[in-house]
């Protein structure tokens, strides 16, 4: 977690933008926010599974990112997810990587 962001109660990530005029958000109300977080966990796990990682929601405020051996980090949002995931996986997580693309395609078909 970013040390500065923690001081005033968390960073506002663009994917979690708060409801205000002109800004698009899926956090307009509690139900929408929870639905979006849950779906985000499902989608992210489709990717993280290729790196032996899983993510879960924690109290609707944080996420828990874990390895299969139980090593876990608490993260705030998608901005922190991927650096943390790369640390835990010990290798880059690259959406342009042809091997990863091939594996995702195979999984989507299967």
């Amino acid at each position: 977690m970013c040390s500065l962001c923690g001081i005033l109660g968390g960073n506002e990530h663009w994917a979690d933008a708060v409801a205000r005029p002109g800004v698009y958000t899926r956090a307009a109300n509690g139900i929408d926010r929870r639905r979006e977080r849950a779906r985000r966990v499902v989608i992210a796990n489709r990717i993280l599974g290729h790196f032996a990682l899983t993510i879960s929601d924690w109290q609707g405020t944080k996420y828990l990112l874990s390895t299969r051996t139980g090593k876990t980090e608490i993260i705030d949002d998608l901005g922190h997810l991927w650096p943390a995931a790369e640390r835990l996986a010990g290798r880059p997580i690259d959406p342009l990587d042809s091997v990863l693309i091939t594996r995702i395609k195979a999984e989507s078909r299967g």
Binding site: L4, C5, W14, G22, G79, P83, P95, L96, I101, K105
Partner: protein, 349 residues
């Protein structure tokens, strides 16, 4: 009691290569009554007299936070300077100002300036990035854009490009430079500083709904035909722009996962992402706008233009294969298709 200051004071970054006319443009802008309440931060003193405006000098120090969070690159001295101005304004020590213009040095990387506003916990509640204005000297642009990576990056992240010295250049040269700029940043308006009616409004506030309107307008989105191609410069293998056009509706959740993942790994080489998305389940389009690792809040647009309702995303990349991004986008899109949207039902807890 009314609000004495705007909720978010806009901050405009004025950048451009060495000698490209930043200070001259700034001097001219500051004579405009519309910018009477403008504070100016400059990296180095120019030759123009700015005595009657708020003026602070900033020196170069960079703070990289030990957090692993790539967005949190803060220019310490800039953060301090803006905080100081904010504090003085609150205490009435300086006259109220409703805008800040930061003039960067000719070789500065503009990104840390923008990320400072986002990463600093005080600044992000009081200030907002309001766009990057880049000056391009048409007399020297061809050599600078070919020879200096900084120059190309400054053009790439511009919201508005202002051509300078067009009065001492022949029209053919000006046209050539326009083509060069368009090949790097096809979506940014190109203005000429010698124009008498240089629009202050476009220069100073291009990032809010104004831009969304421009993107919506039929002529505002220059590369909506899927323009793909190398730059006209000698660095075709490096900086290039292209448009990803997508017919179907975009799944917002998957898009967020994908873009954050992409920018985490390649943000330093993806100079700009800007576009309009047709989001599944929404009747209105959403505009997105990112500079390297920094993504601005997505803007909810009022309506689609009559012409088309396809998602269009402009990428300006440095040394990344365009087809790899397209392939990746489409593959991730299929994850959304394969993921039932009703995997979670609301329940009482």
């Amino acid at each position: 009691m009314g609000e004495p200051f705007p909720a978010f004071t806009p901050v405009t970054l004025l950048t451009g290569f060495l000698g490209s006319g930043k200070t001259t443009l700034l001097k001219r802008l500051l004579t405009d009554p519309a910018l009477a309440g403008c504070a100016v931060l400059i990296n180095e003193f120019g030759e123009v007299g700015l005595d009657h405006y708020l003026l602070e000098r900033i020196d170069e120090t960079m703070v990289l936070l030990q957090s692993g969070c790539l967005c949190c690159t803060v220019r310490g001295e800039l953060s301090e300077a803006i905080r100081d101005l904010h504090s003085k304004r609150e205490r009435g020590v300086v006259p109220p100002f409703d805008r800040i213009v930061i003039e960067s040095t000719g070789l500065a990387d503009p990104f840390p300036v923008l990320s400072t506003l986002k990463a600093d916990p005080v600044l992000r509640h009081h200030f907002k990035a309001s766009g990057v204005v880049t000056t391009v000297d048409v007399v020297n642009a061809d050599a600078q854009l070919v020879g200096y990576r900084e120059s190309v990056r400054q053009v790439a992240i511009a919201d508005v490009v202002v051509l300078t010295k067009t009065d001492i250049s022949d029209p053919a040269q000006t046209e050539l430079v326009k083509e060069m700029v368009r090949s790097i940043n096809p979506d940014a308006p190109i203005l000429q500083s010698v124009d008498g009616d240089l629009a202050i409004g476009i220069l100073m506030d291009p990032t809010t709904l104004t831009r969304s309107d421009a993107l919506q307008s039929p002529g505002g989105f220059y590369c909506d035909e899927g323009w793909v191609g190398p730059t006209a410069l000698g660095h075709a293998d490096r900086i290039r722009s292209f448009v990803l056009v997508f017919d179907g509706a975009v799944d917002w959740t998957t898009f967020g996962v994908w873009l954050t993942m992409l920018l985490n790994r390649h943000g330093d080489r993806i100079l700009r992402v800007k576009g309009i998305l047709n989001i599944e389940g929404e009747e209105f389009p959403v505009a997105i706008h990112a500079v390297q690792h920094l993504v601005h809040p997505p803007v909810h647009m009022r309506s689609w233009s009559d012409r088309e309702q396809r998602s269009r995303i402009v990428f300006i990349v440095d040394g990344i294969d365009c087809s790899a991004i397209e392939q990746s986008f489409k593959t991730f899109h299929n994850i959304a298709d394969a993921t039932p949207s009703q995997e979670w039902e609301p329940s009482l807890v």
